[in-house]
Subunit: 227 residues, 4 copies
């Protein structure tokens, strides 16, 4: 996992379903190449395999189940995530919260499979607990700002500052990124200035009429940022 | 949804992951053509799209989430299931149990999307409740027999008989199928004789060294059975 | 379980916590005696035992867990509900939804323990499924009206009418009651006229400055109603 | 919360239900007085109020819900736990696991209510994450030993040693206690020697024919241990 990074979560937006998931990922790939910046995409489970096979980018699952291969109807084993070509997983997104004990097991397994890991958390204290489990990155995302267009880096900068401070002092090997409400290049720039090593975006890209242009806008401050 | 039917649940078996999911589905397709019998396959979420695009069979999702398209990281909207090419969904499998209220909403939505629906239930009384929600089929599956190789049709025939009797008398438009422990053509034949209109199998096919041969064996009594 | 019935759900209202739970239950007991009407109270788990020991009324738990006595930290076994003196249980309230399979097991066990059972459901179709599990009563409660003061009997009478019709035609031994938004005697009267055999109320009583007066108002149309 | 401490979890054992919960708590109270040792009891939700009113010991709830007072049928608000007389809460027991985000919220609220907090975790890494949320104590409990009579302090001492080491170096204000399989005074002594500041026991006491004698046996090494 390279930093600074722009991670694009496709969620289950209609605009990022089916064929459009691949188009979106290809737009991200183009920006990544043009700017030489790290971009990862997180399509829904239904498009994970096809996106992973279509682009040369880190592709992350939006979540996973703790169980291994076997008799687990409707689950998403990390082993299968890996096998279909994904390189990482986002865990504990506020829309898919996980039990502490399961999160710990998933991280341990993900690392043994050599998968990148990003754990979301709603606030600084919870981010510290997530960091204690040694993921590659923690993404602090105040749930009340998600999808609002009011960027965490502008409307709640203190949450970012406090998270960076806490995680750096206890678990400096864990990168802090942020998300929630990020809509513009300015929002990304603000997040980088506050000490994060990347951002997690969703609706701004998935719902854009010009995904390539929007990704370009969001990725520029990443490309310009400190390593 | 045509009856009698053989439904093959791929679960998250390693043997039914990635490329092997497509091979398994193609073996099922070959048998369906050769015998002129109704066969549906239920790959994992990660392979659903690719299997749906690869075979001319009903392809069912192993489950789904109640939410629509939108900001629902890691969920599986029925609308997306439909869009990637699936034709139905299995709900309330004992390995993915659902809240009653969510099951009711999912069924209503699935039907408005014109998706086939199979609801699993562990016993006759719960099967009756599931049938009250008007799915296309109810699959009675005693959980204690799932994956054991001890077929419900031989080790717990009374559960099938009672379910057929209850569902027929209250909700005759709902088909009763069965599963759990089904390993051989004899097991299928026994299930059909007890009044079911199909069977749901998993490990017997997914773990077979000769999936085509095994599907053929299981499908023959279906082909020979009453409509 | 006697019908028609007024069931008072204390939820976890501050006004129905600790000592106040007992006072509320005693007010209900007084009305039950004065009017000769069936009233049941459902205090929170924390007050269940003390309320059951303090009044001569049916006392219902607000929910329960499927597990028996044993190593189940923080669970609520039905056997314990019974032992501390409760006479019944409300299941699948929209604020405590249950998996279909667990609901079925809980009802079977509750009846073997001779406990009264009321299953909540949000709409007619789900009420029919609940009725298929043979509880003593089904309470149809559109969740969007709960706690609003807009009574289901006035704002969504068609949900009640349809539920009564469905349940009566398939499972006539199951009583239909209703709830959500019930605030006044008029609301109760309307519910009875629509064919229900009782009502489930919460905030109207728990948050009243004069609980005795409010219970009296709500119970009068019950006392006057058809058996 | 005083250390070292013996915490007795009543779980939902039949032997600790109803009146017997009070007798068990009184036996604990007697030992606490005789030995001058810190003992806390954790009765089930159904007995919490009566136990809290019957003994002069810290009484802990076995769990709680994140919601406040209000329209939350079947939930257990911390505010109500406090109001009925409890002085603390056990969270994330392996039999009642919590989402990370909810655990964080519960701890924050518990501390604002001045309630003691014990968070259970299955292994050292998860214990460290729990400690990052600043509870008063973390209880490391390998789930595979719970209820087995094979004491963690003898069969998995390395889990205790590693947890003590990790938590001490990162979050020294959080006490480490342990549990799982603790049956005898020797098991407790071993746990104290490994650096824990208390133990969490359940079946050994609840299922004993002589609870007073068993509590005395378990409490003696606590009384003799380092502060």
């Amino acid at each position: 996992m390279d930093f600074p990074i722009l991670i694009i979560n496709f969620k289950t937006y209609r605009e990022a379903t089916g064929r459009r998931a691949i188009e979106l990922a290809k737009a991200a790939e183009r920006v990544a190449r043009e700017l030489g910046v790290a971009i990862a995409v997180a399509p829904s489970h239904l498009e994970l395999a096809q996106v992973a096979q279509s682009v040369d980018l880190p592709v992350y699952a939006q979540g996973a189940s703790v169980e291994n291969f076997g008799a687990y109807t409707s689950h998403i084993p990390l082993e299968a995530v890996k096998e279909v070509g994904a390189g990482g997983v986002i865990l504990n997104h506020s829309e898919a919260p996980l039990a502490l004990n399961q999160l710990a097991k998933l991280l341990e397994k993900a690392h043994s499979l050599n998968l990148d890991t990003v754990v979301c958390a709603p606030d600084p204290q919870t981010s510290l607990a997530a960091a204690a489990l040694a993921p590659r990155a923690v993404a602090v995302e105040p749930p009340e700002l998600i999808g609002t267009g009011r960027a965490v880096s502008k409307y709640k900068p203190e949450a970012i500052v406090k998270t960076v401070e806490l995680v750096k002092s206890y678990f400096p090997h864990v990168a802090v990124i942020t998300g929630a409400g990020i809509e513009s290049g300015d929002d990304v720039e603000a997040a980088i200035k506050l000490g994060t090593r990347g951002v997690l975006v969703a609706s701004a890209v998935a719902k854009s009429r010009d995904p390539y242009g929007k990704i370009l806008e969001l990725a520029k401050p990443i490309a310009a940022g400190p390593p």
